[in-house]
Amino acid sequence: MRFVRHWHARVGVMAAIFFLFLTLSGLALNHTDALGLVKHEVNNTWLMRWYGFKPAVPTHGYLFEDGYFAASGERWVMNGHVLLDQGLSETRQHLVGAIAWGDMRAISSEDHLFLYLPDGTRVDNLSGAALPNTPIKRLGSINTDTVPQLVLETAQGSFVTEDGLAWQILKVAKTSATAHPVWASEQPLPSTLSASLNRAFGPSLPLERIVLDLHSGRIFGRYGPLLMDIAALGLIILSLSGVWIYLRSVRRKPHH
């Protein structure tokens, strides 16, 4: 009896730490939606290094007078803001370019045209019948003193718009030099932007993944789950020895 009590207490103290850990992370996982664990991105440098993630910072991008646009994989960044577009990952493939168009910034992939304000607010997302033709090959703008125009070059010719709603075939007047579109072109990003780029393109993980890995023990590496197995075994021993101690004490009581 003494032996069991002694070890019950020892295993109990050790297991309590794991038990708290497991129950708290389990509780959090049970309510991931309410807690918004999926939406919360963690980008702690130390943690990301622990996971072995390195920042994928692009070296080239598109420069505007007052900012930049750069992309790496599916992450689009304008002036340090990650452009959230409701996770429509299929729209982000095959980036064509980005260009300033009046006070808006136009970014296009082969089948989509996004319009943003410089602060990262999305104005519109055009695709399908809202575009004159696809795939888009080049993106340009004509910023004359009158109304700035946006130009899309496709296999069926170039199209021009003043509002992103009505499109016309681009007719370039040979006499006027100003009417020629300036095409979006990728340029090396200056080193002055590296701090902003490192911040925006640093690796991150949803909090849900981290809590999940804590819960399973995977965050502690290869033997993490084994550690959690041992903790679970400890809990089994505790339950059994606890029941045993209880039964013994109940049976003994009448004798004392």
Binding site: Q86, G87, L117, R122, V123, N125, G128, A129, A130, L165
Partner: protein, 171 residues
């Protein structure tokens, strides 16, 4: 209601293969269906600060963009929205007439579970739904077990369509 439930159950059993990105209807096809191949020119509703505030109340987050395009003909307006159910957005089309929803279609579904919201048995519940003063629908939409978040997203979009339709007539 029981018939709906049985239909949904059958539909779920038929839809055995879980899909990732599934486009059921292109926006152009949806518009052709709504306006009988005579799609009107697109119009624009600017989501001003006041409109955005109400839209945020309905959606639980700021509206996706500042400019909402829509189509209007014979007093009927058609709207296409993207709204996240659990993790991926659902693209759905809504037709409003006389302040009532007359048609709903799911255009693209991107999550692995919950795609049952695309079935007519579920969508027909929206027909005739109106917006109350508190910006909620004037009726209950029966949920689908396992697709709660997708159903919630559909409800939010239905409310937004009714609200935007009202705003488009104010201007």
């Amino acid at each position: 209601m029981q018939v709906t439930a049985v239909l949904l159950l059958v539909a779920m059993m038929v839809a055995t293969s879980a899909q990732a990105i599934e486009q059921y209807l292109k926006p152009e096809q949806f518009l052709a269906e709504v306006f009988a191949d005579n799609a009107p020119k697109q119009e624009v509703l600017w989501v001003t600060k006041d409109v955005a505030k109400q839209a945020e109340k309905i959606l639980g987050h700021a509206p996706n963009q500042l400019r909402q395009r829509y189509w209007k003909s014979n007093g009927k307006t058609a709207w296409i929205f993207d709204e996240v159910g659990k993790e991926e957005p659902i693209t759905a089309g809504f037709v409003v007439s006389d302040g009532k929803i007359v048609q709903v279609r799911v255009l693209t579904y991107r999550e692995s579970r919950g795609g049952e919201v695309r079935y007519p048995a579920f969508l027909k519940q929206y027909q005739g739904a109106e917006l109350q003063i508190d910006q909620h629908l004037n009726r209950n939409i029966d949920g689908i077990s396992g697709a709660t978040l997708s159903v919630n997203a559909m409800n939010r979009m239905a409310r937004l369509a009714l609200y935007f339709d009202r705003m488009s007539r104010v201007e």
